[in-house]
Symmetry: C2
Subunit: 309 residues, 2 copies
Amino acid sequence: MTKFDITILGCGSALPTPQHFTTSQVINIHEKLFMLDCGEAAQLLFRNQANLRLGKLDHIMISHMHGDHCFGFPGLLSSMTLIGRTTPLHLYMTHDLVPTMKNIIDFFCHLAFKLVIHTLNPDAPECIYEDNDIRVESVPLNHRVPCCGFLFKEKQKPNRLLREKTDAYGIPVTHLARIKAGEDYVMPDGTVILNSELTEPSREHLKSYAFCSDTTFNPNMFEQLMNVDVLYHEATFIDAESHLAVEAAHSTAKQAAETAIAVNARQLIVGHYSIRYDDDSVVTAEAKAFFPNTIGAYDGMVFTIPEYE
Amino acid sequence: MTKFDITILGCGSALPTPQHFTTSQVINIHEKLFMLDCGEAAQLLFRNQANLRLGKLDHIMISHMHGDHCFGFPGLLSSMTLIGRTTPLHLYMTHDLVPTMKNIIDFFCHLAFKLVIHTLNPDAPECIYEDNDIRVESVPLNHRVPCCGFLFKEKQKPNRLLREKTDAYGIPVTHLARIKAGEDYVMPDGTVILNSELTEPSREHLKSYAFCSDTTFNPNMFEQLMNVDVLYHEATFIDAESHLAVEAAHSTAKQAAETAIAVNARQLIVGHYSIRYDDDSVVTAEAKAFFPNTIGAYDGMVFTIPEYE
């Protein structure tokens, strides 16, 4: 069972308010942390979360160059040095942001650690991170500037050992890790027992999460996001103001719900709230009317992806 | 009686904490607002203060280029445009910060108002702002980079009319504003009544405030700050760690108190707390032991300069 938590640090849009800081989230997969966007004060919001530790954060992914998604970046990096970080930090951003961000970091932040900058391709999905457990893909979004969302997918787990079979063949316990890793077993008499007879595929559900920060209604990403467990989708406007959503290259709550339906998501989280609505619940309610499994993000919310059947 | 309030938005040092945001203050003189330094999230802290209105803020003064004194700047400027600002904004900063700050503003902030950048001279005090009521001077500080504090001084008030005299001379009410402004009065028969006979100097106390953000113990500024009402002075260390203060070009709480004594201040406010002290009161207590009229700054504190006799 994999821990896969989404912590919303901020879910407001361009103008931060007393209710909502600007966009930033942290994905915790088995205590390996990924920050998605880094709005102003993200470092403080992060450190106010008892469940997060800055030392575990090695990857920061910025969706695009608008300030409400990246103004917290220089402060966070400066603080990392102050609290003694020495291990490399990986940053992911689109090409247009790189020179300015480098200048800011060079001028203000006296880093005591190595920075590895990964340039995101806003035109085609790419695998941007992979380890034994997960794979992260960029998701091209459609906004006013080059913009990427992020898709986190758990990878197929190792096969499950069939202990009754390994016992029946008298396979020594010291050898079981190799069987679990996929090897066949050669008996003392030379007979080969195929791995498929000794193990069965893990039936554990593979969790997945998609973060779509700022985008118009974007059918181009449907195939990539198909069957995602949890979809975070911006919902800056409501349907009555869909013309404004078009102008600003944002989405309505209804469009967020339509996206969740189209990709067969299990759960929709809406956010990137506009200050034009005094009460966010009008946004959440609109999405919920079309896609009942909708929740409205709030600053400080922790969503644990359940063990879906 | 002049309103002269100091609102502390943040008074931490390099690393923000749940207790203290980084440095930012707002001076309110008759509803004319001046922001001194602009640490990360200053825009939010400002807008959380019921007594402050962003539309009244026309001057932002940055003491130096360290991030804990200016990382809130791009977000604040972006938000000013979003909430409809069209009137010019005056920025004050040392020359070394100007090119980088201009680049950041050009890249991230789509300003709908004019920005007037004033370059501070970190080597000699200069008058950087003046109107009918106040005068603001830069205060050269001694830090690791070019750094200025700021001294706000109320200007001499207009003379007080002696109504019994103006009545005795039969001076028409419509003429009194000119007398108050300093003119002599010419009687219908040509006799000149000198202004000094018709008015007396205002005896109202002229308030003053000095903001010393980051500095070593700095006797060079004593003459300029002489008899200031309220001195805000950084106190990053305590005396037991004065060697660290020297290394980092900061001050101890004792040195802040010694400065208050040397300039004959009425009130000392200490801040720029280091995270090395779990409890700020150790800092305040040290300063208080030498200068009893000391208070420790806290985020959200509003200090109203009283009508000193």
